[in-house]
Symmetry: D2
Subunit: 350 residues, 4 copies
């Protein structure tokens, strides 16, 4: 960390900064220039907030050299992290395709969807049972009953299940049932929840917040990693901007940026990042072409009667067509679609 002092700073101000650096257990490198004095703080600076120095008299600006996260950083872990999720891997050559309804609504709905997405080539099943809804009057999910239905769908198809957790009090229940714990966009900085999932050994799918920077997403991953849970998959799901033609703005740049900064797998959710079924396939193809390790997509057998997110859900036949295209792009990227349990290879893309 470099603390650049104002041209007008006094020797006393410089001394106070030097003392502060030493009090934090760091080494000091002092450089007296013509226009500015620069004070380097050397050591484990990733845990020191820059505002500790910015607030001091005489300080012009503080420049971080090393990133504020460490466990998530590719600097300290150059090779990709590859996790095995009940039958397929994520982060390596395989492209994960996670699909299913926004909410689990009924036994027939989830079983029908699970069979359809499996048939089309999905590697995992998603489905919400605790739903973060903007309105207190909207459907809030089936709760444990929904988990049982998901477990039944897994039994029937072999697909591992990915389910959102909304609160640390749901943790015991969730880990009993699910294969991947999803932390949703609205909870990306629910630090109590991050610490709680960090103490489990269940893989975590961490979605980027609506207005979270890429660095903040990595800091939230750091919370989970710091708890000892190394299996974190990051998910770009669109950010909030001024554009209203789509529900969110897919930050496709985030894919190559994240792949550069971190060793963790990175997937994209084109359903939420566009908000409309008409745009899902185009953005899913873009994600894989940009280097994403997979996608998570909403599929519903009858979107017009979905209790939530019908507008952004694909019908199974459109999903199947999309998976085919994804598979072709994967090949150009020297990758292949993941298959649950390695046993399922429809149409031969794998």
């Amino acid at each position: 960390m470099m603390i650049i002092m104002k041209a007008s700073s006094t020797p006393q101000e410089v001394e106070r900064v030097v003392d502060k650096i030493k009090s934090l257990g760091l080494a000091v490198h002092l450089s007296q220039g013509v226009e500015a004095t620069i004070i380097g703080a050397i050591g484990e600076t990733h845990s020191i907030p820059t505002d500790q120095f910015e607030v001091m008299d005489g300080v012009e600006v503080v420049q971080r050299i090393t990133q504020p996260y460490k466990l998530a950083s590719r600097q300290f872990h150059p090779e990709n992290s590859i996790f095995s999720i009940d039958g397929f891997t994520v982060g390596g050559d395989e492209i994960a395709v996670i699909a299913g309804p926004c909410s689990v609504e009924s036994r027939s709905q989830i079983l029908e969807t699970a069979h359809a997405v499996k048939e089309a080539g999905a590697s995992a099943l998603r489905g919400g049972v605790f739903k973060p809804r903007t309105s207190p009057y909207a459907f809030q999910g089936l709760g444990e009953e929904g988990l049982e239905l998901l477990a039944e769908a897994r039994e029937a198809t072999g697909l591992p299940i990915v389910v959102e957790i909304m609160s640390q009090v749901q943790l015991d229940l969730m880990v009993k049932y699910v294969d991947v714990l999803q932390v949703g966009a609205r909870n990306m900085q629910n630090f109590n929840l991050l610490r709680a999932v960090g103490e489990t050994r269940t893989p975590v799918l961490l979605k980027r917040g609506l207005s979270a920077t890429i660095e903040e997403l990595l800091m939230s991953a750091e919370y989970v990693l710091a708890g000892g849970n190394k299996q974190v998959v990051l998910c770009e799901r669109g950010i909030r901007t001024f554009e209203t033609a789509t529900r969110n703005t897919t930050d496709i740049n985030a894919i190559p940026v994240l792949k550069g900064l971190t060793h963790l797998p990175v997937i994209l959710d084109p359903s939420h990042s566009t908000g409309h079924y008409d745009y899902v396939a185009a953005v899913a193809r873009a994600a894989v072409a940009a280097g994403a390790d997979g996608i998570i997509v909403e599929v519903h057998p009858d979107p017009a009667h979905a209790v939530s997110d019908g507008r952004q859900s694909l019908k199974p036949e459109k999903f199947a067509a999309m998976v085919k295209q994804i598979g072709q792009i994967a090949q150009i990227m020297d990758r292949r679609l993941a298959s649950a349990h390695g046993s399922y290879s429809p149409q031969g893309w794998a």
Copy 2:
């Protein structure tokens, strides 16, 4: 709710929308135009998400006539809600001034600050004991020990205390100590937490999320109100935009917009909305001039050694000067500064 059908919609599509409206227990008003058929859905539509219709074949656009929130709306509660918070009121003629450090750090720090802000005219004391920090390596707060120190400061000064709650599991502890439960920006859509505080009868200070719309803030308030807790104070604290000269962008428009849409009190946090002590007083004055019911400000006896948010904390003497200006602007707005317990009236602004 008006469902406008496409010019190309078929009679069958119209019929399906009509059936759906009826199945939701609403009445139908059908209007066949030249360019478009319009179907009105009449009744308790605030709890019906518009996407229930947007996803149906033949639908062009859905236009909500009534707001998606009800308890928070001024439509159904035209006069201002005024709450009494241990010695002063918020939402009426009084301007609330809540002040204190970002984090409770030590007994001497919180007592010194409490006396200083009381002396300067504050009506309540703020202080964090569970801190939402971006980095898992940063100071996370003193926890219950901090609550005890705050209680001691209240005892010493008579100032009620405002403290952030981060998780529903902290609820029992918090209600034992605090006068106002603060829900922070990062938890504005932590719906489990909103439901939990909605079940208490402790006043809630609900901060707007970094990228939350005004409507979403009101929907989150609706969660608390729906639980039976009527004492919700809304807080604008800056939103995230492209501008980097300040930590956040103060949405000053939100003050008159919220005062128009809701009967709930609305305050502003110029410390977070600017991120720099140099700008706090200007924006605090602007808030009161724009019609805010109060402000919440970070004050620290020694910002350069604050463990958090030092850059945006005022020293007590600057805070005192600011309170004086706020009091003068309050007078122009036909209002006056609130005083804790009505008993404290320094320098005669009240």
Copy 3:
């Protein structure tokens, strides 16, 4: 256009809206509902601003049914517009690849770049001679001398040239030299310039403004089309958001959204939309996978010594590798790379 009246609106207010509609030469369709009266305005409403009605007493909300643009809309021109640009086409099966330096700097620089990008498979040459620079002290371009160098490069390679025009006073000079007039992001709403290029018959490459909505981009295209110039190519080049990890945020959603709304060709500029050469290839691939009709990319033989935009310029060899990948993705999309004059087909992708 539907004008929805407030429940509390009076018959006089309704009458005044009806009169206003008639005075604009439109027909009226009146529908008296239980909760609201709806007044339809029927006819050529795309040229009527909605605020003409929003400001009237008794009006709740105004809902446009038809788009505010007409010539640019796919509603009135369902099939793709395909333009021929001196040897290749854009908007049809061919994927345009426009490449070259940010600024023309010298004869050797532009000739070397032109040969290199042609060799790698580019279909047109870009190069700036009037540069919109944030700082008045920065290099502002070579002006007419630059145009002469570009003409020489065209002569040498057969590549048509794409050059930015910054002001209507440059028009006569520009049309003498260039094959495509580029209107830059900062001038997307310079309406005098739009009208000026609309009067020429030179194809126009219209870049989206930094904070322009997709609808505004189409409205700006409408200015050019309304002047009689039908050859407008739209270009997504990244929008400004809160994210600072990249120079701009590529709005990849804009590709399928624009392809749905308009018949005009749509290309993407991954150099500006990312701002860093490390991310250009990934986002260029994503663009073609999402359905873009081409890309425009900055290439410089020696980025470290470029007078502008060196950070986002590709070296020729990286550009060549990227074009190869683009060609493969084009095939999956049932398309092929465009070649200038159809005569040039390196490595056989065409």
Copy 4:
């Protein structure tokens, strides 16, 4: 300017940076640290883009110490710039109140408005004659006829006139008529126009672009100042964000930030920054309370029939009430309302 080299940078890379600094006529200060080598570039660095160095091999990050603008900076001109505009001053103790319709529509409309705003205490008259309209089909202004009507209104009331210029080709016509040349938000980075108005000696009112940073606004002012025109007034008029409850988001923070960075006067346009007459007075009060040097407001005698911006225009009586409140807040700020020609002092607020 500080160039911080990567820990892994080679002596050759350091040498190349040093050579580049020298080639730009700057002095070098080299500091070899443990974690990083830092190279200071000393001299007239405000005209050197940082990307000249960022693109070089081995460079980690480039940190500017001095601002990229100079003439606009308070560093080199600590005291406020105060301009005299035909009878009043801006930038000193006086609060400028510029008011009038969005567009000049007719002789009676502009004369009626001019008398009304003068009566209410305005110090200058605004009115558009060349209108930047999103739609090519919307009213584009009266042109020179409008200028003649404005001149007549000035004659009748003594109010100087503020008119928007849209293109450098309008310059000769405009300087013949107007007292202040307004450069609108959409032209803030129309650099040809900025250079053109910089060559006149007519005061310039420069509006912030919809997504322009504060630094970019100052860079655009620098273009005008560099041309020799020292009379530049900056205007915050709202920025584009995700919030849709208002037309734009008033960046009230920009007032104290700009007043700190520059010596130029800073005013606010609450009509555009809110987009709705209901919010104009609140935000105008906030502006003056935050330290703005004035406001510019849309006033129309009959907003419901305004050809443009009716929704955000005040009726004269509401404007008069607002001016009264502004005058009271000015007093608290130790300032007073400006009066045209010093001769006009209605209701005694000054």
